[in-house]
């Protein structure tokens, strides 16, 4: 804490609303007259605003009543009732128009707040760009040809087709309902993980793929590639780089992309 100074103390007090009126006037004048202090203030505010949002988000995620909230929310989002719920019970045209207007007001206000709160940090996300650049859904072959008459293989084929068509939730449901015997475990693991990846649930995908990359199953390269992409997305760059390094050893589909991506990751790995 050796760099702690009186000005930093007052800046912290200002940021956390802990100053008296006169002190506020004084520091606001200093901020407006000193570009370096102004930049420091903006960066400090970004840190504070981020942490505030992050703590609230973590609180919501770990709320013991989250399940109740999800049930309530589910009343509107159940796919079977979704269309019906578009209608507002007991409401006429003017009320719907009012809601639309409110939505526009909220949207405009949200845009302004986003611009204000992210003024200094660049809006583009290079790690996301990298991910978008390299990620594409796995091009699965038609699994149904392998044994359409068998119930389990037919279910697997349906799950894979759900995945291929972007119906990731259905795919997860299908695979979770299957008893994962050793002969079908690789498919169940891979496509469940890929479906989570498709939904943007990277941690869930990682949890499934991590054991798969060391299990010597037939989808090991695919598991490495997609786990590496998960790590890229979640900011675990060293892990991603290690996996892509391993993939370079395979003379296959991912060799060239893995090498190229690993080079780009060097920036993050310092």
């Amino acid at each position: 804490m050796e760099r702690y100074t009186d000005r930093n103390r007052r800046l912290a007090d200002y940021i956390y609303n802990d100053l008296g009126r006169e002190e506020i006037v004084e520091i606001e004048r200093e901020i407006s007259n000193d570009p370096e202090l102004s930049e420091s203030y903006q960066f400090n505010m970004q840190v504070k605003e981020y942490l505030k949002a992050k703590m609230q988000l973590e609180e919501m995620r770990s709320d013991p009543r989250l399940e109740d909230a999800e049930k309530l929310a589910g009343l509107l989002f159940d796919p079977e009732t979704h269309h019906k719920e578009e209608e507002i019970p007991g409401s006429g045209g003017p009320k719907r128009n009012r809601i639309r207007k409110l939505a526009i007001v909220v949207a405009v206000a949200a845009t302004v707040a986003i611009i204000v709160s992210f003024g200094i940090i660049p809006s583009t996300i290079s790690q996301d760009k990298l991910f978008d650049h390299y990620y594409e859904p796995y091009a699965a072959s038609d699994y149904s040809q392998r044994g359409a008459s068998n119930g389990i293989y037919s279910d697997i084929a349906n799950g894979i087709n759900d995945y291929k068509d972007g119906r990731y939730s259905q795919s997860i449901d299908m695979f979770s309902a299957l008893a994962s015997g050793p002969d079908i475990q690789p498919e169940v693991q891979l496509f469940t993980a890929l479906s989570y990846l498709g939904l943007g649930q990277y941690q869930e995908a990682e949890n499934i793929l991590e054991p798969a990359v060391n299990s010597n199953n037939r989808y090991q390269p695919e598991s490495m590639w997609y786990l590496g992409l998960c790590y890229l997305k979640t900011g675990e760059f060293e892990k991603a780089s290690t996996l892509f390094g391993r993939l370079e050893e395979y003379d296959g589909l991912y060799k060239s992309d893995a090498r190229s991506l690993r080079k780009k990751l060097r920036r993050f790995n310092q």
Partner: protein
């Protein structure tokens, strides 16, 4: 009914009072935006998700059988998360029809852009590196608990909490500036400036 209690806000939403929506925006918009960003969305997505989440909240509280049995913030989170999950499924279906982009076009962009998620990771890791007292004091301020209340909860004096808060914040900023990734980003920016 206590002002700004969850039930109070629900009543205001039912009556379509604008201040209720402003309250929800100020209170929850940033954390919902962060949720969307963490789940792979963009700023634009976050804006849409929050708006749609609030419209869903209106529809929900208008139901005759609606009864709030959880925190309002957690309900907003659940509604927005559902909205974003549905959005993701739609986007994924569309994405499947697009051919893969060729390598090289974005290479220049990548090296020249900083990364917002990278900053977020640095901020959070630095916060988590602080001792528990600092985390609790700053956490209390960030949750808008009054310094007096924080002092009472932690068994400190009001003056100590105020002073320690400033020190903890200073320490946090130093941890951020000393973070290896932060240093690397700054070095990259410097190099680009010189070029």
């Amino acid at each position: 009914m206590e002002k700004n209690s969850d039930q109070y806000i629900i009543e205001r939403i039912r009556n379509r009072e604008d201040d209720a929506f402003k309250y929800l925006q100020v209170k929850f918009q940033d954390s919902i935006r962060l949720m969307v960003l963490e789940m792979g969305g963009s700023q634009e997505d976050a804006k849409d998700v929050f708006s749609e989440g609030l419209v869903a909240l209106i529809r929900l509280v208008d139901r005759e059988d609606f009864e709030l049995n959880c925190k309002l913030g957690t309900l907003v989170y659940a509604l927005c998360k559902n909205t974003w999950m549905l959005q993701l499924e739609k986007q994924a279906a569309v994405r499947n029809y697009h051919a893969r982009k060729l390598d090289s076009a974005d290479e220049q962009d990548f090296t020249e852009e900083s990364d917002q998620q990278l900053f977020h990771k640095i901020f959070w890791e630095s916060f988590k590196k602080m001792d528990k007292v600092c985390q609790d004091i700053l956490g209390g301020y960030l949750k808008e608990i009054s310094p007096k209340e924080i002092a009472e909860q932690m068994g400190y004096s009001y003056g100590y909490v105020r002073k320690r808060k400033s020190m903890c914040h200073g320490y946090l900023m130093k941890l951020i500036e000393d973070h290896p990734t932060y240093i690397k980003i700054k070095q990259t920016e410097l190099t680009l400036d010189i070029e």
